[in-house]
């Protein structure tokens, strides 16, 4: 009980301190004012509390906003279960793949400036990719050539910047089961302390797993995109994002590494039973490394990410700061797959869903296994974080957690329960 009271006092203090700032940016509303049922929102809170109690998750934050106003912002459970610290509004989470939308917006800023073209081959910016090959299975499994079941062919067309943004470049991830994924692991792609340029040198030496433009395959493509941004802008990825996205939007707690010692006590941690991503312990963001991984490397807070999402919902502007134009946001948040289907690996966007430039995009009312509007765009992170924007209903949701095994579960549960609580969407 003392523990809970402490948390409440702490939260009130934080809210009181940040309230004037919030008023300028995202406002606050009573749930009913923007169409939500308090009773049904409480059901979400109760579910999260029960999961904390049963040690399914250490702690979490959940923010729901509609029409620029925060209708729900809860923090539950522990910030750091080992140290018994309560969750905070301003907790800092490893957002993993929720870095990708930020990197994608950074690329589209250069696109708007006439410096980057979706149709250009990656090799135009990264010459290492000039002679990239595609690994193909041999047609005859008993091929007597060199004994390998695979051979290399030239790509049917060069992988493009658009391919990187929509995961159709033919790149893969080491945790998949295709043969190139195994080559990623064998090549020690992630060994040592390297920067984006060195990472691209490494990955460009390996073949593509699929012909460019033929399948959607989740991949290190957005890490490569991060290097494209560096080459085109002449700045490090973080420096470019800081100047063009993070600072204008006031995302002061979003970065690749936490250099400010004052922020160290705000880092959320996982339960000892669930604190590994693909076998690796959650990284320590206070250890300054060189790699600014545009596909996975960032930490952020609930409110920082909410600002980013509100900017997108507003058609590229937030709090007077123009990041992109409405038409560019529309280009990013509509389907770019068309008839391009999934690869042999998992199609994370799910049924009824295509992919835009950095986001999964809901294509149909039905087919999907989660509630949502056509036009919703969303993504999640490997440590369990998730978000979605609903442009039709002018709603954004940010869920922050450090519980890798629970990600897929909550990415289904939350839309279902949040839409269940939106009982008057006409408001």
């Amino acid at each position: 009980m003392r523990h809970l009271l402490g948390a409440t006092t702490c939260a009130m203090l934080v809210l009181w301190l940040v309230a004037p700032v919030l008023a300028q940016e995202l406002g606050n509303a009573k749930p009913e004012e923007v169409g939500f049922s308090q009773e049904r929102l409480d059901r979400i809170t109760d579910t999260l509390k029960a999961d904390v109690k049963h040690q399914v998750i250490p702690g979490a934050t959940l923010l729901i906003a509609r029409h620029d106003k925060i209708a729900y912002f809860e923090k539950l459970g522990s910030l750091d279960p080992d140290k018994n610290l309560p969750m905070r509004d301003d907790a800092i989470f490893r957002i993993f793949s929720m870095s990708k939308p930020i990197t994608s917006v950074a690329a589209m800023i250069l696109f708007e400036q006439g410096k980057l073209f979706l149709g250009n081959p990656i090799a135009k910016y990264l010459p290492q990719f000039t002679d990239v090959k595609v690994l193909m299975p041999n047609k005859d499994p008993n091929d007597r050539g060199d004994g390998s079941p695979y051979h290399l062919v030239a790509p049917n067309r060069a992988p493009t910047v658009q391919d990187l943004l929509r995961h159709t470049a033919g790149l893969t991830y080491g945790f998949w089961s295709d043969p190139v994924a195994k080559m990623y692991v064998a090549a020690g792609l992630f060994g040592g302390n390297y920067n984006n340029a060195e990472f691209v040198d490494r990955i460009a030496k390996l073949p593509l797993a699929f012909q460019p433009g033929t399948v959607w395959n989740y991949s290190n493509g957005v890490d490569v995109l991060g290097r494209v941004i560096e080459v085109v802008s002449g700045k490090s990825l973080y420096q470019f994002e800081k100047e063009n996205i993070l600072d204008p939007l006031g995302m002061n707690d979003t970065s690749f590494y936490l250099t400010d010692p004052a922020k160290k006590g705000r880092i959320a941690e996982g339960l000892s039973s669930d604190n590994k991503v693909f076998g690796f312990p959650l990284f320590d963001p206070t250890i300054q490394g060189k790699w600014e991984a545009g596909g996975q490397g960032m930490v952020s807070t609930t409110l920082d990410y909410a600002r980013f999402l509100q900017m997108l919902l507003n058609g590229g502007v937030f709090n007077g700061h123009r990041i992109l134009s409405p038409a560019t946001v529309a280009l990013m948040t509509h389907d770019h797959l068309g008839r391009i289907g999934p690869s042999t690996n998992l199609y994370i966007p799910g049924p009824g869903t295509g992919f835009g430039l950095g986001f999964a995009v809901r294509r149909s009312e039905g087919q999907a296994t989660i509630a949502g509007s056509v036009g919703n765009y969303f993504w999640g992170g490997a440590a369990g974080t998730a978000f979605w924007n609903d442009p039709k209903l002018q709603m954004l949701v940010v869920f922050m957690i450090q519980a890798p095994k629970q990600g897929f579960h909550y990415q289904t549960l939350l839309p279902n329960m949040v839409y269940a609580a939106l009982t008057d969407p006409s408001k």
């Binding site: 006439g114 073209f117 992109l324 280009l331």
Partner: protein
């Protein structure tokens, strides 16, 4: 709301949703392209809700003599002739004198015997051994000409009939549209009519169809139906008025070639009136044409087409017809209407734009697009053939970046 009386007048960017600061970024970028010698010079015009909110002349009209670009410079618009010819054809469709479904042969009898080339393969080893000529499954129609599905091609594409096109001396001498149509009719089609979208001499042939159906020379019909009523007094196939000769914009070497030859001299009198590529125009002339289309077929009270006909032309006519066999210029996310590429998808494409946009461009680097949903158009004139593909992405990306009005 009827826009029949809407013309073009001056306006401020902010009044119609554009950011002045971001338009300035566009201007700065384009000046940088002049400084970097990517383009010699250009004119660019953007109008929204009938108001010209951006009209710039940058760089040189003729770099070889350091003559600055002027807003009234005359450009070779090449394939931007096609939309004008297509509108000319649709004026005849509206008058009941031309039918989209009619075989071309109904207007040009020589096409009654046109054949389709199919590959002839060795019966045992399937090695290619030239072509066979077969009858078309259905005759090519006027609609096929307007949407590039006729089976015709261009000689610069590597199709099955490329050799035939190159050896046919299609461009020999100073020829009329009637003569050009006869030359085309003697060549086999590259594919079955309606089987694919393939950029081609179709619109040149359409020009001859317009002549036969109207009983007038193409330019005379266009003058009467389009150019005269819209006040497009600087738009023509060759520039007869010597007082205009000093306004012709020139390309700068080495980027001054189209099809391997230096850009033609439009000051030379010629019989040729090629509806697919032969016109010269200015920014303000072509802007009137585009505003007429955005207005639903009328400009400042002068009606050229009805709103229904314009919307019919600017809707997709391909459906399931696939691209090919040659390069698909409209691009991912685009179909093709009657004379224009038409945007079908909000995503997929490699540049920004609204669903329903219709656009086209010319081989010397000119391009335009109309956005009916957001009620604006952008028009770009330059003479720099090698830069066309890049600009075709760059300009929409930067113009839409400047349209900051919130979406409805």
């Amino acid at each position: 709301m009827s826009h029949a009386n809407r013309g073009l007048e001056e306006g401020n960017p902010e009044e119609v949703g554009f950011s002045r600061e971001r338009l300035q970024r566009l201007t700065d970028h384009l000046r940088g392209e002049v400084d970097a010698a990517l383009i010699p010079g250009a004119t660019m015009l953007i109008a929204r809700h009938g108001k010209i909110i951006y009209f710039e002349a940058i760089g040189f009209r003729d770099k070889s003599v350091q003559a600055p670009m002027t807003k009234d410079a005359i450009f070779r618009i090449f394939s931007m002739s096609k939309p004008v010819t297509s509108v000319a054809a649709m004026t005849l469709v509206e008058q009941g004198r031309l039918y989209l479904e009619n075989p071309i042969a109904a207007y040009i009898p020589a096409f009654a015997n046109v054949k389709v080339a199919v590959p002839r393969n060795d019966p045992i080893f399937f090695a290619p051994q030239g072509i066979d000529l077969v009858a078309p499954v259905r005759p090519p129609t006027v609609q096929d000409l307007l949407r590039h599905t006729s089976g015709l091609t261009y000689g610069f594409f590597e199709t099955i009939v490329a050799k035939h096109y190159r050896e046919a001396n299609l461009f020999a001498g100073d020829f009329t549209n009637a003569e050009f149509a006869e030359r085309l009719a003697a060549l086999p089609l590259a594919f079955q009519p309606g089987a694919g979208w393939n950029y081609s001499h179709s619109t040149d042939l359409l020009g001859r169809v317009v002549e036969v159906a109207s009983g007038k020379a193409l330019y005379e019909w266009e003058q009467e139906q389009i150019l005269g009523p819209l006040g497009m007094s600087d738009t023509s196939f060759s520039i007869a008025d010597k007082s205009k000769h000093g306004r012709v914009a020139e390309a700068a070497a080495p980027d001054n070639l189209a099809g391997g030859a230096p850009l033609y001299d439009p000051r030379q009198p010629a019989k040729s009136q090629m509806g697919g590529q032969g016109m010269q125009s200015t920014a303000l002339d072509y802007a009137r044409f585009l505003q007429m289309l955005l207005n639903g077929g009328s400009f400042a009270g002068n009606r050229v087409l009805s709103p229904e006909t314009v919307s019919f032309m600017t809707s997709d006519h391909l459906g399931l017809i696939p691209p090919g066999p040659s390069f698909y210029f409209p691009g991912d996310g685009y179909g093709f209407g009657l004379g224009f590429a038409v945007r079908r998808a909000p995503g997929l494409a490699k540049h920004t734009g609204s669903v329903g946009n219709f656009d086209w461009s010319g081989a010397a680097g000119t391009l335009f697009w109309c956005d009916p949903r957001r009620d604006f158009f952008a028009l770009w004139m330059t003479q720099a053939p090698m830069q066309l593909f890049r600009l075709h992405s760059l300009l929409p990306n930067m113009v839409y970046a400047a349209l900051t009005e919130p979406e409805k």
